[in-house]
């Protein structure tokens, strides 16, 4: 049923640290790699080695420039994937019941054998978390690696989403937001984890941790101290003379 559950036992999701993310796209490739096999239709590529390559990805890393009113601009890398919303608009619009939110852990999934590929769920998602697979004609989205996190064939340290497992800077954290003592809940509370587009009323599970304030004032350019060189000696004399002509 595409009606949303009143509540879920767990609220599994990610805490994504915008302070430590270096924008390496390792999570993007790990996600693509894992979801090429196993769960559901493999994420396909079109014209992969041609002039206009395009493909299905469940995770994308944006890079933004943030220019404060005063001081230097900052670059912030920003991974974007499904937020496993509590009030997921993608689920309720689904006409076939393919989209659903699990009562046990709150993961939003697509039952691909029921998906007709109408694309309405992708329209309903404000975050662009869903992409239609051009080869299979079914909707693909982040499964929170549901085929890893409960998979007892994997060593215990691998039982987390591929993006979290692979992140070289530890910018991605996986856990239960329903448990106030979990690592992700603690992180979100300590660091002021925030929701994306709260005005859309989706109540996302995933939280983003803001960049920490810098302990040093950011210069507009690291070369700034080198740009203002006083010429001395002959060069200084030449500079003064040429300046007067």
């Amino acid at each position: 049923m595409t009606c949303l559950p009143d509540m879920t036992q767990k609220k599994l999701g990610l805490a994504i640290d915008l302070d430590t993310c270096v924008g390496c796209h390792a999570c993007v490739t790990a996600c693509k790699g894992w979801n090429d096999q196993g769960y559901g239709a493999p994420l396909s590529d079109q014209d992969a080695y041609g002039a206009e390559p395009s493909g299905t990805f469940l995770n994308r890393v944006h890079s933004y420039q943030v220019q404060p009113a005063q001081g230097a601009a900052q670059t912030i890398n920003f991974p974007r994937s499904c937020l496993h919303c509590e009030d997921a608009p993608c689920v309720t619009v689904c006409p076939t019941g393919a989209s659903y939110k699990r009562v046990e852990d709150g993961i939003v999934l697509v039952n691909e054998s029921d998906c007709i590929g109408c694309g309405l769920c992708a329209w309903a998602c404000p975050y662009g978390a869903r992409e239609m697979d051009a080869d299979e004609g079914v909707m693909k989205k982040c499964t929170l690696c549901v085929d890893r996190i409960y998979n007892e064939n994997l060593p215990e340290e691998d039982r987390e989403p591929a993006c979290v497992r692979t992140c070289p800077t530890g910018a991605r954290h996986f856990g239960d937001f329903n448990d106030p003592d979990s690592k992700v809940s603690q992180l979100a509370a300590a660091r002021g984890g925030f929701d994306l587009m709260p005005e859309m009323g989706t109540k996302p599970t995933n939280k983003y941790l803001p960049p920490r304030p810098k302990d040093q004032r950011l210069e507009a350019s690291l070369l700034a101290p080198l740009l203002d060189i006083e010429a001395k000696g002959f060069a200084g004399w030449l500079d003064r003379v040429l300046g007067k002509i």
Partner: protein, 289 residues
């Protein structure tokens, strides 16, 4: 949003078909025998043809029947039910007009109501989507309904009624252009809220997440052809409402039929704009709208 031909054809034709059959059911065009057969055939062809067109944009149309299952939550599912129920409810009336037997007025009223409900459900598929602020307004179903009823009255040769309905349509279209242009700002989504970084300063794209295209850019972030939007708006209002209204004022079956064709041209232009001008908030992540 990408203006997919299948969805434009679907919503324009099936809207007109259901609007027309609504007036037919209520006995506005009292035809008998073969004339009745052909009139109803046109109505069914428009409605069913539109519905079939809508299935061509599906990734897996062979599973389309599953779309009837989620009527509790999904407007798309409700639209499917309403359309099927309306087509079944209208059938005895069509047969009655053709073969000459009476159908109770209550049944005619019910069938007409189902036809109207179908159009409202179609509109709600778009209206419900909060992520497309231009659509997320109560005037959207009013606009779909105005198109269906004005076009339907025109096709049912109702000169006076269609004249007034077409004027209503013109007003609704103009108001919706005005309101729609302000909807995105009203929704309050910016690159700042999308990234949650707005309080820190001005957010702009430093680098895109991918150099190639993807589904999101093709489907949701459609910007082609917006430069002609103003001209198309004028064409849409003139052809869909103003010119047919003038023709309806003059009257005559021949001119009314021409008016229907002119109205259809305007309706297609308007529906193309409905999609092409609709901006999805996901565009904010790409610094595009």
């Amino acid at each position: 949003m990408h203006p997919a031909p299948s969805v434009i054809i679907f919503s324009v034709l099936s809207g007109l078909g259901f609007g027309f059959m609504c007036f037919m059911a209520l006995g506005f065009l009292p035809l008998t025998g073969l004339w009745a057969f052909w009139a109803w055939a046109i109505g069914y062809a428009l409605a069913v043809g539109g519905l079939i067109a809508s299935t061509t944009h599906l990734g897996n149309p062979q599973r389309a029947l599953k779309a009837f299952s989620q009527w509790r939550s999904s407007w798309l599912s409700r639209e499917g039910w309403a359309a099927v129920l309306a087509l079944f409810a209208l059938a005895p009336i069509a047969l009655g007009d053709w073969l000459g037997f009476a159908v109770p007025y209550a049944w005619r009223g019910l069938a007409a109501a189902l036809a109207v409900i179908t159009v409202v459900c179609t509109a709600m598929i778009y209206t419900q989507i909060k992520a497309v602020p231009r659509w997320h307004h109560w005037l959207t179903p009013v606009m779909f309904l105005a198109f269906a009823l004005a076009g339907g009255a025109l096709l049912a040769m109702q000169a006076t009624l269609s004249f007034f309905l077409l004027l209503v349509l013109a007003v609704v279209m103009l108001v919706l252009f005005f309101v729609g242009d302000r909807q995105f700002a009203r929704a309050g989504s910016t690159m700042g809220t999308a990234t949650g970084l707005g309080a820190r300063g001005d957010v702009s794209v430093f680098e895109q997440p991918h150099t190639g295209g993807n589904y999101l850019l093709r489907e949701m972030i459609f910007v082609v052809g917006r430069k002609h939007a103003m001209k198309l708006r004028v064409i849409a209002v003139l052809c869909a409402a103003v010119l047919p209204a003038l023709m309806a004022a003059v009257g005559g079956v021949g001119l009314m039929l021409v008016a229907v064709l002119v109205h259809l041209v305007g309706a297609f232009a308007a529906r193309w704009l409905f999609f092409a001008e609709a901006e999805h908030v996901v565009g904010l992540y790409y610094g595009k709208r």
